[in-house]
Amino acid sequence: MEVGQVHPIVVIFAVAYFVVIFGIGWYSRKAAASPMEYMVAGRSVGPFVNGAGLASAFLSPASFLGLPAFIFLLGYSFWWALSGIILGMPLASLLTAAPLRKYAPVSFTDYYADRYENEKLVRIVTSIPVIITGVLYITLAMVGTALFLMAILRVPYFWSLVIGTGAVLFYVYLGGMVATMWTNGLQGILMTIASVTVALVIISTFGGFQGLAEAIGNNNPKFWLPPGSTEGASHPLMGIWTGMVGFFFVWHYGFATMPYTVVRFFTAMDINAARRATFWAAFFGGLMYWGLIVIGSAARVILETMHPIMGTVLEDGSKVDSAVGVLKYLQGYYGCNAAAITDYSMIAATQALQQPWLLGILVAGGLAISMSTVAAWTVVMQVIIGRDWMVKILENKWANDNPVKAMRMWIIISLVVCFLLSINPPAMVLDLSGWAFVLIIASVGPGLILGIWWDRATTAAHLSTTVVFTFATLFSWLYAKFVLGSPHWFFLSEAIFGQKIPTGHQVYWIPIAFIFFIVVSLLTKPNSEETVKKYSLDLRYD
């Protein structure tokens, strides 16, 4: 199959996917009759659907495209980043899922407003990092949706964006959280099937795990080297153990603290269902990541030995003679600079296997994981702006009287703004999505986890931690990127150690933020005994 051809079976898979998604949106339109249905799906979602949906929402195109690309670049040690993400999923079970389901809020900021005894200031401060992250992640996921449509179905990038955004707008607008839950559940299963199927074909192509491991090692002798090896490093960022361990923790606590997963625990039918949902999330997420590791590790050797573009003579007389050369060629062919060339590695490796049905499964899985993240963040944004800001903070009468209309208005505004950003996204927007994870965990994470599990957590600690670590994480990330050349070098490493020390996405701010929160809490006035009992002590027991 030539690069420019689209096999009919690939189109059939994509059309079937959109038909099912549109069907779910249309079927769930009755949810708009009730604000509680629209915002939290009537708190009636079972653990299996919730778990599959949680996995698809939490794992974005940054997982499906970005993590295999990171393995392609950094080598074996980056496998631990993927293990860290899935190992972090169960943490939500007892830390936040069960207590928050017992509390049963509507919005992400509700708990903070009640626990920290302030209806407006706490909501404003808490929602700012959430809105920043929401815009970054919706944009990232829209770009991911468009890349799959463009690279596999050859739809021009702009029209890919229109189709992806229009589809999400259709079902989220109609069915709110109900549509999002059911589509996310289906998308979680689809993305797992896609990843595992492609991985199994790759293992079979190389004659088993042993053949695959040897092919990878022969193609890139440094791929398997651990940090600190006397033989060299798989990549400078994996030269010492702080790189490997740092990347393990970047996303590790995200599942328990990120707004787009935490709000899903509000929708569970009871506390047991909330806890059990994390089991299914780890089940589907772990299987999908098993496949992504195989694909990311094999991508270079597949591209260099099997891709039809290898050996192509270019206009300047040079030949495409490496995996990076193949990816550069493809990026030029697509005429789209919305992503780094390595982000095409997974799609290109699957194309190289030359199985149309495999590309069909991949396009369905890729669209599923991308659109599920757009929808999940959109429902967070609609409630935070349409309800929290308009009703609770600004006390807007129209929004108070017309809650579903207010949220629908913000669904449209959020998607249009992110659509416009996605048309020609600056590389910074996509890069900053990594910072966004550390931002959320370090800024609002301590206030959530310690608010529940520590009587002494105070309002001053939550407000100061949120403000201080919003700026600290952003400044250090930007400094490392522009001064040291990568956001993954510790930003003060040259000043303190005289050499660059790898720390993925400035991850060390997470433990520092928790220590800062504890110190400020001990130095400031505790919240009232009644509040601590109601929103801390009572939530710890079923």
């Binding site: 496998w79 088993g208 398997w224 651990p226 047991n272 806890r275 599990w453």
Partner: protein, 83 residues
């Protein structure tokens, strides 16, 4: 801090971080990586990392963290009825 947390939480934490640290130390001490060592004919990282740590351990811990709290609640409920 963490008063009222079910004791099984700390068992799961010990398993999760204990196993991760052990595997990191083994890998770093190996100097050239563990992929030349086989477990049941499969290169070791595909077994202990890309199966055990990425799938089996997370779902086992997730199971521990819903099964034991539910069991405790059932026991408390049955004790309450007997009294």
């Amino acid at each position: 801090m963490f008063k009222g947390m079910h004791p099984i939480f700390w068992v799961g934490i010990a398993i999760m971080y204990g196993l991760s640290i052990v595997f990191w130390i083994i890998e770093i001490a190996s100097n050239t990586g563990t992929w030349t060592t086989s477990i049941a004919g499969i290169p070791a990282p595909f077994v202990y990392n890309n199966l055990f740590m990425i799938w089996l351990v997370p779902i086992f811990i997730a199971w521990l963290w819903y099964y034991f709290p539910e069991k405790t609640n059932k026991e408390k409920a049955s004790q309450g009825k007997e009294e």
